[in-house]
Amino acid sequence: MAVAPLNRYPLWKHLLILAVIMVLGLYTLPNLYPDIPAVQVSHASGKLDASTLPALQRALQEEGIEVHSEEQGNNRLLLRFTDTEQQLQAFEASKETLDGRHIVALNLAPSVPGWLRLLGASPMNLGLDLRGGVHFLLQVDMKAAGAKAINNYATSFRVNLREAKLRRFSVVHTGDEARVRFRDAESRAAGLEVLRKEYGNELDFAEEDSQDGYLVIAKISEETLREIQSLAIQQNIQTLRNRVNELGVAEPVIQQQGAERIVVQLPGVQDTAQAKEILGATATVEFRMVNEQSDPFEAAETGRIPPGSLLYYERDSRNPILLKRAVMLTGDSIINANSGFDENSLPAVIITLDGKGAARFSKVTAENIKKLMAVVFIDNKTVIINKDGEQIRKTVKSEEVVSVARIQEQLGKRFQIEGLDSTHEALKLALLLRAGALAAPVEIVEERTVGPSLGQQNIDLGKKSIVIGFILVMIFMVVYYRLFGIAADLALAANLVLIIGIMSLIPGATLTLPGIAGIVLTVGMAVDANVLIFERIREELRNGNSPQASIQAGYSKALSTIADANVTTLIAAVVLFVFGTGPIKGFAVTLSIGIVCSMFTAIMGTRALVNLYYGSRKSPRLAV
């Protein structure tokens, strides 16, 4: 029998297997480094200035705080420290050095060495159930958003109809529609024309005759309603972002989920009552006139504030400013605020008011032409106070002036704030105004909080069960399949490395407790492919085939079975991924990755080992 050797792999195959395991092995390494205390700095605008790092370094050096290592990137700055004491000191020092627009947060950062970080290697993301933290699912009340909008329209109707000299009508709004009742058909026709002209592309109008009058029924059009709802969500997300930034959470997640929901994840936050308070509170804006007669700097210094005025500070410059006590307009009159351009193509913010607000605002601005008006943004800010070495989070009301502008003319329902420095500035102000406008109310529909000790406990238990399950299976395989069992065990170990390597490499993959269970389960199931192959080899041997032919037949005959069996499990895993939420998704992810990796290691990996050992022998006795 002079045939080419059956069980030899070409060199490239060996190299490929080795390369895959080595590369992914490299990416598992970061998981072995412990987390060390760190301080994370970012800027509320999203852009971190390049001068921040040197300034911080100087400040920390003066305080005698030793920085373990620093890392800059992704518009955030990470300073690592050797112990928590240094971290806390640095935290305080950083807050003092940087202005209020910087977000300084305590964090734990992996102590991965620089050369690994250069390769883009980082440890796996841990789910909240492993690292501790709060998960909220918020439902935005879309009905309320629609109802508020129709209420605004109804108020405006009265103004528009009165302006058109129409009389003897009444406006009521119920649920999602506004009804305008006229005495006769003629005035209805005239009124409808006025309303159509003003709101034709936002509302759907219908006429109805009933015994108590001639009605016009206005409903918000599908498209407008969608717009209102998406705006309500955006607005809420913006407000939540602002607040969470103030909370000083290291890696928060705030995302829209589906049409009406927002997910908020705050790793490391334990005081849920506080978090809830902050998420639930609403921000507002107020328009006030500026007191131009008195010197704000003097007032700030001496503390003597002129009667009828209040002392405020501007958001970015921190300059003091004196505002009149009387409020011209509050946020709940604002229907919308968009950034855009004025007639000179300069950045501006276009604001739309509801009927009631517009009437009031128009009167006040008429009396104050050529005078300065300020927009005050009021929100609940959280500060961290270090009290007796313990950190206490406290909520304080923050009132900041976000815009000052001169009134050029009498302002009405739609007006614009001009003279902004950049489109970025305009965008920011529009966002703040929208955030300050009364957004649709939100309700917490799901909460999952895991304390830090339970998170660590979950990690420890998970590790323990992986290790024990792993060792049991390994022993069993060696006892049962001897040399071939060792090949399977090596493949199993490689499989574990691949799973962790891939999990670390995919940025969106998150390890959860069910995810760990998925790894444990794959450890048990991954050897199935080898069991199939080895049993087949035994069978071939029993049927009197030569050892080399048995190896060859065992691998090739088992292949389609393994593929079929794994594809079907993969179907279940994918369905689980699509329908699952949070931690369950984590289970689906590790199960899928494990199945795919096990095909590679159990088929190609063990074959390479078996070939290396037996491939060049004439008629070996197989230890299977």
Partner: protein
Amino acid sequence: MQLLKDKLNIDFMGKRKPALILSCALIVVSLAAIPVRGLNLGIDFTGGTLVEVGYPDSTGLEKVRQALVSSGLENAIVQHFGTTRDVLIRLPVAESDRDKSSLSSKVIDALQPTGSPEVKRVEFVGPQVGGELRDKGGLAMLYALVGILIYVALRFEWRFSLGSVAALVHDVILVMGFFALTQTEFDLTVLAALLAVIGYSLNDTIVVFDRIRENFRRTRKDIPEATINESINQTFSRTLMTSITTLLVLFALFLFGGEVIHAFSIALIVGVIVGTYSSIYIASTSLLALKVSKEDLMPVAKTTGDGDGSQV
């Protein structure tokens, strides 16, 4: 080492009648248990509030209960969780409470006099979210089954497809019946486990089916019962081995994985046992009942006919 002798020859199919009776009995018991005893659904599906607290020393439940009652939380269910130091408090969704999500804070405040326990876990699921998770879970199960039905029909033949799904439905019913009978809590992780059971049981079934197909094609005689029996015998040591390794890790998970995934590992342990049995006695028996024959399994003919070749 070998657990079984070389030429195994167990008459599996000969015992299919008693096995069928056993399966039917178990299914009837399970189907009866699910509505009668009811599944002990976790708050993931029912909605509600759950608070897990840890005390420095072992703490009696009565003390905790009284503290809750004195704060007006009469309907709280209090139990130890894992150790006597850890206490789990469950509350149903309060209809009257306007802010349903604040219930957990109330519980935590109420527990302060009992020795300032550490809050380990808080879960609140609103009623509509619970309903959605329930619907989504049911749908997931359905989609997985349909996907598998299609895949197996494409790769094998419709009889195999029906047989494997029959086995899966059997497994799911029995595991759920087990949960209803033992009143083990049925939460989201158990649902995930159930889908993993589907994957595992199917894995097992496919291996047997693959061999049945291979043997049908090879054999010259057309005695389905003998061929199926032979196939099961040939794959039996593999079936046993894989079940053992999987059960090994599952017991590791059950014993060391912590309280949170207890129910998860129980579901899988039961599922793996039931799934192994069903791939032999439900899936393969279905093939016999559906009268699978050698002709059905010959390599696909060139014409893309309907597949139901004329019977001899």
